[in-house]
């Protein structure tokens, strides 16, 4: 059982949870993720570690409510418990002084990129951040990202804040303007990462992406998370989640993300229509279940 220490709503349906897991906090590095299972009947879902608090022995996770499990997770509050968390999983980000690094984040990708950008900054890189969202309400972690960036850009699809358009517009301009960008880190929806890679490819700027394939165990045991990178099958959970974006087959990734669309809708519907939603902590009930 793992205790939630704090809960914050960052944007409509974007939540940050701080969870007490000292063993994971001690070991985790930027770019790694955990897999959690809320309760006995829950599924295992991966979420990236977005922040660390050494004193409190905690990590923070930022997630968007997209389906049943994230919706249920959002219904928990501080002092509630989560049945299982395992990690850190995946390879840590490659952190070195590359020179100038452009960090391009879309949506909740901002939470995933934050620890990576922080680590890159610490390693001496010049950080240019481009933070994109559909509208200004959905922009998250602006202050945190801005504070570690040498240059900081915001884009919104509807122009409600910053540049009106998508993050690749700004990236394109920067490249065209002769900004010597040595490396790009792009994290967000698959489609956004695909377009960032298309933007950087002609300029041969190494572009690292963090893939979010569907996972079960997260240890290389099931192959659910397989992705094609450079024509080879890789397991996202152990070989990634970060890969050289120019080699990734994004269309395959997007196709595989849709495998359970039908079931996901059904799960959400059956959750929404449940009389009593499980908002209170289930530790006790589960303990009793376990003893039975």
């Amino acid at each position: 059982m793992f205790r939630i220490l704090n809960k914050e709503v960052l944007a409509p349906s974007v939540i940050r949870l701080e969870i007490e897991v000292p063993d994971i906090e001690r070991k985790a590095k930027a770019g790694q993720f955990v897999i959690l299972r809320i309760d006995e009947s829950g599924e295992r879902i991966p979420l990236t570690i977005s922040g660390f608090n050494e004193e409190r022995g905690s990590i923070s996770l930022v997630f968007q409510e997209v389906g049943k499990t994230t919706r249920q997770l959002a219904s928990l509050s501080s002092e509630d418990c989560i049945a299982d968390i395992v990690g850190p999983l995946g390879r840590p980000s490659e952190i070195e002084n590359f020179g100038t690094v452009a960090c391009v984040a879309g949506g909740v990708g901002a939470a995933v990129i934050l620890p990576v950008a922080q680590a890159l900054k610490k390693a001496g890189n010049k950080i240019i951040t481009i933070l994109g969202a559909r509208n200004k309400e959905l922009l998250i972690l602006e202050d945190e990202l801005c504070s570690i960036s040498d240059e900081f850009f915001v884009t919104t699809d509807d122009g409600s804040k910053g540049h009106c358009g998508v993050c690749t517009d700004v990236l394109n301009e920067l490249i065209a303007g002769g900004q010597g960008i040595n490396r790009v880190v792009a994290i967000g929806p698959a489609i956004m990462m695909k377009f960032v890679c298309k933007t950087t490819e002609p300029h041969k700027i190494k572009t690292v992406v963090s893939l979010n394939s569907i996972m079960v165990d997260g240890t290389g045991m099931c192959g659910s998370c397989r992705v094609t990178v450079g024509g080879e099958t890789k397991f996202c959970c152990v070989d990634g989640p970060e890969f050289d974006g120019h080699l990734v087959d994004f269309d395959e990734l997007m196709n595989r993300q849709k495998i359970y669309l039908e079931e996901e809708n059904l799960a959400l519907k059956s959750y929404e229509t449940r009389d009593v939603k499980r908002t209170e902590c289930r530790c006790k009930a589960q303990k009793e279940e376990g003893e039975r």
């Binding site: 070991k27 295992r44 395992v86 079960v216 240890t219 045991m221 196709n255 849709k258 079931e263 059956s270």
Partner: protein, 466 residues
């Protein structure tokens, strides 16, 4: 009690089974096991052979005649105790050992084609004891004040942990998943090995004082060297052969194509057959193709059937004789209507809109034996055929997961990536022992247990001369 018969050898007492047409609609256990009278009747067929040839066939040397003798006398709990002297998981082995190649193969009565149903009797004794609620705890030696770390909670790890606890060590098992049991929990389906049976056996270990820490991936959450720093005196690696192999043919990443590991994990560990009551989804195919011929392939095919498939084809590139699956499972699969295509292998997966729609296959014939001694399949030119499929399950074997091994300097591996260890489980790294599928490649539950036991003895020896 005198043995039955006046020269006439009675046939094996059959155990009750769910009827095929009923059982394919549920996940309940197929074999119902013996009733008391049946168990006694079967035990009475045993000749109590002086030389007990049956014991040669048991990798852990269960004293078969002695436990059967106790059963003849109606002392089932005594029988269970007798078995447990050598085999700490009898309810499991009685169900899943490939008895026809082990104990029962060496039974004197096998020559008449009617070997004693040793597995069934073993299962009966263990179930009887468990259901009686009075499980005798094995004796435990005085604490030696040393801690041992066991990595992986499959049969190898469980046995090693249990034996070390009995020897007076403080044992902690580290398991990557949220539930202990290894393949027993995530691989072998409920209808063959009820999870309640596995849980009861694991509870027994906990009562012995073994601590089980789930959600710990050794190699990332903590390393072996760190475990030594934390004060563990020795480490046992029982991480199994959990890396799924794929066919590496075109179209394999289409939606609807599963590794057997993923398919079975979703169903068994995550209980997706109860979706949406349980959250983990699974694709229920109408036309399912399973590739492979071992227990894993049988389990996948029969699971797909129970999820509602109309047609389940099982493609195997050799003949029925070479199939490594337990005879009983093949028999059950046939009764349930699995369609076997022997001497055939897939070449390509076809898809529509990103989903698998069919498998292009080709027939094979058998050539010269390969290094495993089995005849190598050769593709027959011009014999292409295709099968319709909306779900495909690839069950062609597994390899060693490199996660832990890569993070452990000084641990030597063999050519195939498995841990190199001598026959007592000693690895190239001081204080580190290993056993089960991680040294042999995919084998059997009982062999993994045997390896766990040997390693426990070796660890005890190593620590007492230290």
């Amino acid at each position: 009690m005198k043995s039955e018969g006046n020269g006439r050898i009675l046939g094996r007492v059959p155990a009750g089974e769910q009827l095929p047409q009923e059982r394919i609609l549920n996940f309940n256990e197929v074999v119902l096991g013996y009733a008391v009278e049946q168990a006694v009747a079967e035990a009475n067929r045993c000749l109590q052979c002086k030389k007990s040839p049956c014991m040669q066939g048991c990798p852990v040397g269960v004293d078969i005649p002695s436990f059967i003798k106790l059963m003849k006398e109606g002392d089932f709990r005594g029988a269970a105790g007798k078995i447990k002297e050598k085999n700490s998981l009898p309810a499991i082995c009685g169900r899943v050992c490939p008895q026809e190649n082990q104990c029962e193969k060496f039974c004197t009565l096998d020559r008449k084609g009617k070997p004693i149903a040793i597995g069934r009797l073993e299962r009966f004794a263990a179930d009887f004891e468990r259901n009686s609620g009075k499980i005798s705890l094995p004796k435990k030696k005085k604490s030696v004040g040393k801690r041992i770390a066991v990595i992986g909670s499959g049969p190898a790890g469980l046995t090693c942990a249990g034996d070390l606890a009995k020897l007076g060590y403080e044992v902690t098992i580290f398991e990557a998943l949220h539930k202990p049991g290894g393949v027993l929990a995530y691989g072998i389906p409920e209808f063959r090995l009820p999870k309640a049976v596995v849980e009861a056996e694991i509870d027994g270990l906990k009562k012995l004082g073994v601590e089980i820490k789930t959600n710990v991936v050794v190699g990332t959450s903590v390393t072996i060297d760190e475990l030594f720093c934390e004060g563990y005196s020795a480490v046992f690696i029982g991480t199994g052969a959990g890396l799924p192999r794929f066919l590496e043919i075109p179209g394999e990443n289409l939606n609807g194509i599963y590794s057997a590991n993923e398919f079975l994990t979703r169903v068994n560990l995550m209980k997706s057959y109860l979706f949406p009551k349980y959250d983990t989804p699974i694709k229920k195919g109408k036309n399912v193709v399973v590739v492979g011929g071992g227990n894993v392939a049988m389990d996948s095919a029969r699971t797909a059937l129970r999820l509602g498939a109309k047609n389940v084809y099982l493609l195997y590139r050799r003949t029925e004789e070479e199939m490594p699956a337990r005879a009983e499972e093949v028999q059950h699969a046939k009764e349930e209507g699995i369609k076997f295509r022997f001497l055939a292998t897939p070449q390509k997966f076809c898809g529509v809109d990103g989903w698998v729609s069919g498998v292009e296959c080709v027939e094979t014939k058998l050539g010269e034996p390969d290094e495993s001694g089995r005849r190598r399949p050769i593709i027959k030119k011009g014999s292409e055929f295709s099968l319709t499929a909306d779900v495909v399950i690839v069950a062609i074997g597994t390899g060693a997961n490199p996660l832990l091994l890569r993070a452990t300097p000084g641990l030597e591996l063999n050519r195939k990536g498995y841990v190199l260890a001598n026959q007592n489980g000693q690895t190239s790294k001081r204080g580190v022992f290993a056993g089960g599928d991680i040294i042999t490649g995919s084998a059997t539950v009982i062999l993994a247990m045997g390896a766990g036991r040997k390693a426990a003895l070796e660890i005890d020896r190593y620590l007492s001369i230290l």
